[in-house]
Symmetry: D2
Subunit: 396 residues, 4 copies
Amino acid sequence: MDLNDRALRRIIIGLGGQGALREEGFNIAVASEIMAILCLSENEEDLKRRLSRIVVAYSYSGKPIFAGDLKISSAMAVVLKDALSPNLCQTLEHTPVFIHGGPFANIAHGCNSVLATRYGLKLGDYLITEAGFGADLGAEKFFNIKCRISGLVPNAVVVVCSVRALKMHSGDFKVVAGKPLSEDLLRENTDAVERGACNLEKQIENMKQFGIPVVVAINKFTSDTKNEIEAIRKKAIAAGAEDAVLSEVWEKGGEGGRDLAKAVDKAANKPSNFKFLYDINASIKQKIETIATKIYGAKDVQYDPEAEKKIALYTKLGYDKLPLCMAKTHLSLSHDPNLKGAPKGFTLPVRDVRASVGAGFLYPLCGTMRTMPGLPSEPAGERIDLDQNGKIVGLF
Amino acid sequence: MDLNDRALRRIIIGLGGQGALREEGFNIAVASEIMAILCLSENEEDLKRRLSRIVVAYSYSGKPIFAGDLKISSAMAVVLKDALSPNLCQTLEHTPVFIHGGPFANIAHGCNSVLATRYGLKLGDYLITEAGFGADLGAEKFFNIKCRISGLVPNAVVVVCSVRALKMHSGDFKVVAGKPLSEDLLRENTDAVERGACNLEKQIENMKQFGIPVVVAINKFTSDTKNEIEAIRKKAIAAGAEDAVLSEVWEKGGEGGRDLAKAVDKAANKPSNFKFLYDINASIKQKIETIATKIYGAKDVQYDPEAEKKIALYTKLGYDKLPLCMAKTHLSLSHDPNLKGAPKGFTLPVRDVRASVGAGFLYPLCGTMRTMPGLPSEPAGERIDLDQNGKIVGLF
Amino acid sequence: MDLNDRALRRIIIGLGGQGALREEGFNIAVASEIMAILCLSENEEDLKRRLSRIVVAYSYSGKPIFAGDLKISSAMAVVLKDALSPNLCQTLEHTPVFIHGGPFANIAHGCNSVLATRYGLKLGDYLITEAGFGADLGAEKFFNIKCRISGLVPNAVVVVCSVRALKMHSGDFKVVAGKPLSEDLLRENTDAVERGACNLEKQIENMKQFGIPVVVAINKFTSDTKNEIEAIRKKAIAAGAEDAVLSEVWEKGGEGGRDLAKAVDKAANKPSNFKFLYDINASIKQKIETIATKIYGAKDVQYDPEAEKKIALYTKLGYDKLPLCMAKTHLSLSHDPNLKGAPKGFTLPVRDVRASVGAGFLYPLCGTMRTMPGLPSEPAGERIDLDQNGKIVGLF
Amino acid sequence: MDLNDRALRRIIIGLGGQGALREEGFNIAVASEIMAILCLSENEEDLKRRLSRIVVAYSYSGKPIFAGDLKISSAMAVVLKDALSPNLCQTLEHTPVFIHGGPFANIAHGCNSVLATRYGLKLGDYLITEAGFGADLGAEKFFNIKCRISGLVPNAVVVVCSVRALKMHSGDFKVVAGKPLSEDLLRENTDAVERGACNLEKQIENMKQFGIPVVVAINKFTSDTKNEIEAIRKKAIAAGAEDAVLSEVWEKGGEGGRDLAKAVDKAANKPSNFKFLYDINASIKQKIETIATKIYGAKDVQYDPEAEKKIALYTKLGYDKLPLCMAKTHLSLSHDPNLKGAPKGFTLPVRDVRASVGAGFLYPLCGTMRTMPGLPSEPAGERIDLDQNGKIVGLF
């Protein structure tokens, strides 16, 4: 079910002796472990196996109860049978594209399905896929989870940035979600771009830790100036990018991406040496600390008692051999949305660690993650209607 | 959503300040007012109008809050747009049949959609449609609700019975839902059939109150004897049925229904004088009491304080002009499943009265109605699976 | 705790993993099994034993969990230590009286404590004690529970009635709790008194089944007329009462009870043959049916599935050897407050049966029993205050 | 009510339409605003006034609803009438002592009642009173809340410390509540004492900000060594204490406190210049920041959105003119129990701000405060019993 009513976020079910009284909650479909499983499964057999390993509860003595124990995973696989096949769409310019699967990029790994990626690789010369949120989240998870589980190896990585975002990372501007941007952000300010570029530099440095060539795509906005773009280019190349190219796809369609494509082609054909950030056999804490210090720039990590308890439990159950899927804000390289640029020396707090055993990863929580959005103050549904002729109106 | 988890029957939502904390419950789709609306709507415009009139709450000052006030009914109509079109299926003998809509026969009116009935009437010479549960419920609601709202007029009514069911109505046998039937029920027992036939007699008498010819169909079971069948025939005709005919459709397919079809054809071509049981402008209590005394055989009606309160409220709001949809057990002509045969002189208790204003009826509750079933001790889903070749197995 | 907030009647506790999440409720102190135990205990040892046998839950396998198993009953006895001693008060005329204990007369036995009764018997020549609600409830429980458990034997019973109450039992008058009485009730109406006296006759007949002399006390109101009082007298004596005497205690104090005292003295000194209504070793259903048919005038008893389940459980656990404490309305001899006078031929419904194993009785529920009252629309507490001199005002 | 069942910490009340359904919780009596009020009231009139100003809810339009609006505060005052009078007890050496009132030292001000303090001042030459938790909490609240509201002025302050506690503040030792102390803490370690003394130095510095003489009492343990005690003495005097004296009261009774008493007498007779830490008319944030930076050593303060919202609300309602009662851990000068010694440069997080308007203060929350303790794994009640002679046993 894909519901969107925030009153269902936290509920009590089973009143009146109708089943066990317990606190529960609805999540939207993309936040469920099932979506993550769909995107990591190689075939129906693998899908069934992963579904059967979802941990739904623990017995009083601490043993995990699996979906398979409840005998529901096969029926779930039947429901997902058709959804497992990637669906081929076309872009506005009639080029083929797979749009398949959407695991949340915070509590899950945020990538397209493994199957869609495999199909794409078979069907074309180049396969470009997206990894959600910033490279500290999306790319790190793409490499350490999706590539590790599937055996897929990337040839190059494209880090996207914009003049506006780097200005914001200078720390000079206050940006509030849902509110219009300050006019100041739209004025030329090469100094702010240069100072905020420390964020881009850290992202490039991070990508290079995985051993593959990096190309920076500067997503062009109409208010960007030549000086600002040039400032980014210089910083990016100084930081080790193969190239930094303007992307004008928004304005000009495929034509606007020609330069970028050439740069990526060149980078992808360079020899590379892809490697994972951490050894899968390292302890849970070692893995967390590796990501925290090498990718985020943290000094160290602090664990809440709940996190300590879970780490001990998962280690005892053998789940410490799973890769990690960090649940962290995308608004900062750190856990704190207010720390812009490339913060250093902070302590990363880990509140809790949860397990998606079926999907095949643990997800440490570095903050509060919302898994069911609220509705906007004027929900889109209010505009949707049937007109006189029975035609649906108000969808866009 | 069509869920089937009894732990969701009674829930509390909105914990932690996520919306208003309140007691709620999930019903299955067939128990929702939306299903009743779908089955009573004439077209998209009518569907929208009825959806917009669903009462979702009352203000502190007692005014109804409609789905239309929440601006959600148009979007609901869009979701139901395709569902509103009847779907044409075929029987195993390749004759056409509409299967369209399924409102619960207890808290709703239990009939096929008005649109499917209209389409059927246009497309064939005869249209046979079913009304759920016993004639005291199904037929009464078919006439007083579906025929009244749509203006459709029936030409004949078929009352179905079986030897076994009438034996049971003798009161000599204990039948428990979910347990195998007593062997005694399968032995010839003409005396029990004759005594239990008082139930059939009352159902025939009830149908004749609506002014149309009645045919009795005796649904044949392998254990039935000639004497038992003959006993029913005699009683039925004595009670005023046009005819009482054996139906062997289960055993012989369409061929087994030939005699019944002839009898129905004959009855349907007799002049008739269809009339409603009650005047729509009568008070709520008058309508309840008319159904209770004329159809069920009750002496009088007793109202719980909750029912009294609602009757006063609905009368004040003008909802007293709606037809009634009695929510009563189908296991007895009375409200008490233990009273078999044709009980008389009892007091019908009305616990509460609820309103489906959008659908267009009030439903008095004469007992506890369950609107979300539980799962069997071994849920069917446990057998469903994908086999090695990805084929779905275990559905049947 | 003795709280009085109806919002606490039905609650959910243990949210957020703070203990087991469960549905609970607060009852006022007089509705607790502890109050019933206090009133039936012979001494501290007996109090401890009874407290330890309170059933607080059942294990998954159906075994009772006792307060003693939780090791809390001894501490409870310490808290009740002083409360166990009867407190001697005095009336407005300075005669001694024990006021000690108050178990609800619906879900409990509604009598003063056994200890206060024993003390009174030691300290005076006559001991008069009250049993709550009508004689069909109060006296029946006094005899079958309190006398049986304690071994105490009464010498005479006083049935109290009033002109007004018997008029009401004629069925001619509508009386609504909380609303002023109809003026009609205050006018002389000997005919209504005589017809309503069937209730008194049944109560006298009931008392005589216990084998002890009955005296009727007519509680005088200022609006009563001589004819009405005389009508009661005649009916009472014809029904087998030793005497029927006017009680003017409300108006004249002790002096107004002199005639009644003489009549009770005479009756108490007559030979008597006290016997219980039912054998303690009879089955639960036999006991319920004995009370229902012999005391209430019912034709038979109908058990809800919940009641059947409990009867089977308690019989298996050996609790069928406990006396019964019927939970029934006091507004009718039947379970239905609307049936006035001495109804006959009705079926008594038993919804559920509960167990106060510590107190030592089972209580079948013949309707909904409220165990926490609501507050009046203007709570008494609103008038209570400290005045300028720190004196408490507004208590009366 | 003073209950102690953690399952009552978070509950939902009003199910089934019994009052408004809402999330609630029980607190123990010492955690209630009523206890704080009792301890700050000057007389019955003041008690009534403060009770009537308790804010129990806010209307939909944001107006506070007071206990007085519900007309319950006068009745509450009646219940508290006797509790308001301080109760005079005696020590084991038969000296008089008032033990009166106990507001929690985290969410309330943690001091004895104003009335008991006034009575003591009238009845003796010196009045010594305690303020709960460390001086950063207890003394700060004593001065800024109790002294400010009552007008009482202290002559000297005694800061209590122990060798063991200062060793712990060196940060070399891990101390876990409920677990036995490390043996290492009991060995002489003058170096650790000297390093941990930075905590004592900060506390002395803090007290001197209030303008009154400070005496340090070293609470002697049997494992303390001369060198360790001398180290403390030196550090204390260097930090500005009038004197630092060994207290042997635990071992020797009153005799063991003679030296301390002399030192306090001397200090109390020195001229002093008591002043509050902050101006009552400063904004809420100014007050929080003054305490955070001047007393705790914080660099600055960070407010959660919930705190910001409340600060705006209270300022609008005029509650910004109330003193503050910081709710902070007592295990560190900071908000983080792990930061030992005298931490500097940290950011104090303020999660929320609450108001005890009746008591007369706001309490900012710098962490999670528990207001109902759990029971120990073997509750004390299990040992309490009545013995054969009816004597209570197991209390100690």
